[in-house]
Structures are given as structure tokens and as C-alpha cells.
């Protein structure tokens, strides 16, 4: 009789152990996913805050047409960062995948930010898709080709930033993305 109880006890304990081990395995996977998600989310929020901080200041205390270069993956504009009366130039350029060849994700690219002639600094991680779009006073999307002319750049009133951030490492074989799209309407482009 005692032996029978030993068997039953062992089965119960063994079952519990198996359930716990399976749960641990499952939880480990979930933890890994959540951590990756969190990293992507933080990277995306970090980037959007940097972009908002800079783009809202386009044309701040500088005369003339503030947008110097406008393309889908390049943007350069003037502003007076330190309010010293000397216009500064701030630029964003999207690099190519070769710039981040050390990561597992084959699609991620660096986004560089450069103030005046300083060395460009990467401001994003896990960026796989990124674009600027430009809109005029009537909210009409402007053709990139037309923006080569200064007189057209002078009519830019708002800029849309759209990007997708993925983790540097895949979960199983997939990369779970965070997608952000923001329309920024810098007041200095609409004051006059």
C-alpha cells in the first residue's frame, strides 16, 4: 500500500516538475519576445523624439528658405541651434544596409544626423524602412523632383516622417516591427 502511495506521489511531483519546466521554457520565450519588443519600441520612440526635437525647429531664427535639401531619405535645413546669430545646418541621411552589416537583420540601415560640418552620428537602431514626405500650404504632397528647386522648397509647410524599426535579432525567423508615422508642422515655416 505504502509503495502505491510512493508511485502516486512520484507521478504527481514528476507531473508538476514537467509542467513547471514547460512553463519555464514558454516563459523564457515570452520574456525574450517582450524584451525584443521593448527594445524596438524604445528605439522607435527614441528616434521619433529626436526627429520631433529637431524638425520642429526648422527655420528657427534663420532668414531665407530654411529647407536646403529635401528628398525621400535626405533632409537638410537651417536653424540657429545656440541662438548666436549664426545659422546652423542640420541634416539627416539614411544609409544603406552595408552600414549595419554586423547585425543579424539583413534589412536594417543606419540613419545619420549631422550638425554643420561635424562627423555624422547614427541616431537609430533596427531601422529597416524610413522616408520623408513633404506637403505644401494646401496639404498637397509635393513631388521629390520638384523639391530640387528652391522656390518649391520655400512652399514646404509640413513634413511627414514614416519609419519601421525591427529588432536586431529575429524571434524564431521573424522580425516583429514597430511602425511610426508622424506629421510635423514646424511653426517657423508658417509664420510669414
Amino acid at each position: 500500500m505504502g509503495t502505491q502511495w510512493d508511485y502516486i506521489g512520484s507521478l504527481v511531483i514528476g507531473g508538476i516538475v514537467i509542467v513547471i519546466v514547460l512553463s519555464i521554457s514558454n516563459t523564457l520565450t515570452t520574456t525574450y519576445h517582450r524584451t525584443r519588443d521593448l527594445i524596438s519600441q524604445e528605439a522607435a520612440l527614441h528616434l521619433v523624439r529626436i526627429l520631433e526635437h529637431d524638425l520642429y525647429k526648422i527655420g528657427y531664427l534663420t532668414p531665407g528658405v530654411p529647407v536646403v535639401e529635401a528628398d525621400s531619405t535626405r533632409l537638410r535645413f537651417t536653424l540657429d541651434v545656440d541662438e548666436d546669430g549664426i545659422p546652423d545646418t542640420l541634416g539627416y541621411v539614411l544609409g544603406d544596409t552595408a552600414g549595419l552589416s554586423q547585425t543579424t537583420n539583413p534589412l536594417d540601415k543606419p540613419l545619420y544626423r549631422a550638425l554643420n560640418n561635424e562627423e555624422p552620428v547614427g541616431v537609430a537602431i533596427g531601422l529597416v524602412d524610413f522616408s520623408f514626405a513633404y506637403f505644401d500650404t494646401g496639404g498637397i504632397r509635393m513631388e521629390y523632383d520638384s523639391l530640387k528647386a528652391e522656390r518649391h522648397r520655400a512652399t514646404i509647410r509640413s513634413i511627414e516622417v514614416a519609419f519601421k524599426v525591427e529588432p536586431a535579432e529575429p524571434i524564431d525567423t521573424t522580425y516583429i516591427p514597430v511602425v511610426i508615422r508622424r506629421l510635423i508642422r514646424p511653426r517657423n515655416l508658417t509664420l510669414w
Binding site: G9, S10, I13, I16, V17, I20, V21, S23, I24, T27, L28, T30, T31, R34, T35, D37, L38, Q41, E42, L45, V48, R49, Y56, K57, G59, Y60, L61, T62, P63, D80, E83, D84, G85, I86, P87, P186, R187, N188, L191
Partner: protein, 379 residues
């Protein structure tokens, strides 16, 4: 065996709990990130909206300043929730591409929950307009030969302290008909090409504009001079804004004069020995619809300066100093009598004085857009 099993179960449970805790932490942090971003966005919106509110206040009262940080009344944004907004409004100088500009700086610090956002705006301190109809320190449709007499007329731009602002002025005299300096007036100003010439007799012809072709567009009312619809100035004067007054009998004026002082005289009536009191300012209008009113012998108390814009149908015997400009609407100015004895008085053009005088008109708008020039907005 039993004890070992218990240890394994407890250990595994502990590991599971730790992992679950980690998951919860990640979820919490993700939510915190989103909440922080949301709060930061609200703080930024609050800061920018507050600036809009404060700009309107400045447009309504150009001399308003708040040097020490003050709290914006919560009633302004009562529906937003737990927020505090501190602001200052100070005079400063801003340099834009090497050009120094007298400015007003507004700073706002908006706090919403745990997030704070700082925003600032620079405004050109000399806001307001100089009406295009003011082409000279004295602008007239009729003959100015006798009216100018032996005064000093200087169309160079002066600030409120009387210092010259180089190459920014207007003609000394601008007349729709020929002008001859009969009274040996000392005349100076800024030529059409933008060069300054100090007052002299004989004057440099470059600072006199005569026979200017208005092509029928010379203003026929004080409102027209400022580009306003007829009746606007009279309405402001009647409402008493910033000390404005409307009278049909000049003896009923109260001093000091400020805002819009509108004296509407019956047809053909002359306001003789017009006394403007001490340090009069603003826009002085002496007019009737037939352009037949006249001021004869005008002065201030203790030779203080009138600062602003005088728009009259007809003036003669100008025994006061003016910092701003004079516009005379009538074609029938004095052509016979001579006015001697006012060589100790001067009319000096001042765009700053005119802008200040005209702000009262701009206060009639709503909001701030179009009323005050924002130089830069730091969001």
C-alpha cells in the same frame, strides 16, 4: 526523495516567478514609455498653446512684460488636467544672421504629469506699420510752401530717443504739387535711393518729393491714410480705448492726450491756439468730411514733444515738436500768410513712434496672427 522533490518544485516555481516578474516589468516599461511620450506630447502642446495665448495678450497690450516667472492661471487650461505653466515676457536683443534686432522674448515651461516642455518665441519689438501714405515727415496733397515756414523738417528715421536709424527714413516733404522752401526751413531726410541727408538750407533736392502723382489715390480721410475702412478711428476714439477721445469741441479734451484723439470740427471751422498738453502721444485727428477743418497755432505745454502721427485737413503755425509724422489731407493749405518764429521747432520722422501710435488700431483684431511679427518659434 520527498525533500529533494520539494526543493526542485520550489526552485522551479521561484524561477518561474522571476521570469513572470521580468515579463511584467517589460510590459510595464513599454507602457511607461508610451505614457511618457504621450505626456511629453501634451506638455509640448500646452507650451505652444500657452505661447499663442500670451502672444494674443501681447498683441492687446504691447507694453506688457512679465520679468519674473509667473504662473498661467489654471482657468486658461482647466480641462487639460494636472499641469502647471510658468512664463516670462522680457525685452531682449536677438541676432539673426548678424543683424541685431530689439526683441521681446516669451518663455513658457509647461509641466504635465512627469514631463516638462520648454518653448520660446521671439517677437520684433517694433511691431506695427508705417502706412505707405506717409511718404515724408510732412506729407500733403496741397502746397506746403508757407506751412513748413522756417522749421526743421527731418525725414531721416529716428528712434524714440531721437537717435538716427541710418538710411531707413522717408522724404522730408512729400507733396502732390510743387514745393518751394520759401521760409528757409532746414530740410533733411532719406532719398529714394536710401541715402540720408542731414537738415540743411538750402536743402538737398533728393530729400524733397514734389508733384508726386497719387493718380487720384491721395487719402481723403484719416482712415484711408492708415488703410482702414471709414469710421474706424472715430469708433476707437469714441470707445475711449487707451485714453482715446472723440470731441467736436476741442475745449472738452482731457489731458494727457493718448490713443486716438479725434477732433471733428464743423465745416470751415478753425481750431485756434490748439494746446495739446504735456507729452501728447498717439494719433491726433482734426478733420471733417469736407476736409475744411483747420488748426491754427498748435503747441504743447513746456515745449514737450508730440510722439505719434498727426492727420489733419489743414495746419498752420506749427509751434510744436513732432516725433513721428504729419499728413495733411486738404488741397487748400495756406498760400498767403507767412509763419515766422517757429525755427525752434522740428518735425522728425520716426517709424517707431508711428508704429507705436498705430498699434491701437491693430489691437482691434483678434488672436495674434497678423498683429505682431514673430521672428522665431522654438517649439
Amino acid at each position: 526523495m520527498g525533500r529533494a522533490s520539494l526543493i526542485i518544485v520550489l526552485g522551479a516555481s521561484l524561477a518561474l516567478s522571476v521570469l513572470n516578474l521580468q515579463i511584467n516589468k517589460s510590459s510595464e516599461r513599454a507602457i511607461e514609455n508610451m505614457v511618457a511620450y504621450y505626456e511629453a506630447s501634451i506638455a509640448r502642446d500646452l507650451a505652444n498653446q500657452s505661447l499663442g495665448y500670451l502672444l494674443t495678450q501681447l498683441a492687446d497690450s504691447a507694453t506688457w512684460r512679465v520679468v519674473r516667472p509667473a504662473l498661467l492661471p489654471s482657468s486658461v487650461f482647466a480641462d487639460v488636467g494636472p499641469s502647471t505653466i510658468l512664463y516670462t515676457v522680457r525685452d531682449t536683443v536677438v541676432i539673426i544672421s548678424g543683424r541685431r534686432i530689439d526683441a521681446i522674448r516669451m518663455d513658457v515651461e509647461a509641466k504635465y504629469e512627469k514631463q516638462t516642455h520648454h518653448a520660446a518665441v521671439y517677437i520684433d519689438r517694433n511691431f506695427g506699420i508705417v502706412p505707405p501714405a506717409v511718404r515724408g515727415a510732412m506729407t500733403a496733397q496741397g502746397p506746403l510752401n508757407q506751412t513748413v515756414s522756417d522749421m526743421l523738417i527731418d525725414g531721416r528715421d529716428h528712434n524714440l530717443q531721437g537717435s538716427i536709424i541710418a538710411n531707413a527714413g522717408v522724404f522730408s516733404v512729400s507733396s502732390a504739387i510743387a514745393f518751394t522752401n520759401l521760409g528757409t526751413a532746414r530740410i533733411g531726410g532719406t532719398s529714394e535711393s536710401g541715402s540720408d541727408y542731414p537738415p540743411s538750407y538750402p536743402e538737398n533736392p533728393a530729400v524733397v518729393e514734389q508733384e508726386y502723382n497719387w493718380d487720384g489715390t491721395f487719402p481723403n480721410s484719416p482712415d484711408n491714410v492708415l488703410g482702414l475702412s471709414d469710421g474706424t478711428l472715430k469708433e476707437i476714439a469714441k470707445r475711449g480705448i487707451n485714453g482715446s477721445q472723440y470731441v467736436t469741441d476741442p475745449r472738452k479734451l482731457k489731458y494727457p492726450l493718448s490713443g486716438v484723439t479725434y477732433v471733428e470740427l464743423p465745416a470751415g471751422v478753425t481750431w485756434r491756439v490748439a494746446r495739446l498738453g504735456t507729452n501728447p502721444t498717439g494719433i491726433l485727428v482734426v478733420h471733417n468730411t469736407s476736409l475744411s477743418s483747420r488748426i491754427d497755432n498748435i503747441s504743447t505745454t513746456r515745449k514737450t514733444v508730440f510722439t505719434g502721427l498727426i492727420i489733419a485737413d489743414n495746419m498752420f503755425h506749427i509751434h510744436l515738436d513732432v516725433l513721428g509724422a504729419i499728413v495733411l489731407l486738404s488741397k487748400n493749405l495756406e498760400t498767403v500768410r507767412e509763419c515766422r518764429g517757429n525755427d525752434d521747432h522740428r518735425v522728425r520722422f520716426s517709424s517707431e513712434a508711428i508704429r507705436r501710435a498705430i498699434r491701437i488700431v491693430q489691437q482691434e483684431g483678434s488672436g495674434w496672427a497678423g498683429r505682431i511679427p514673430v521672428l522665431g518659434w522654438k517649439e
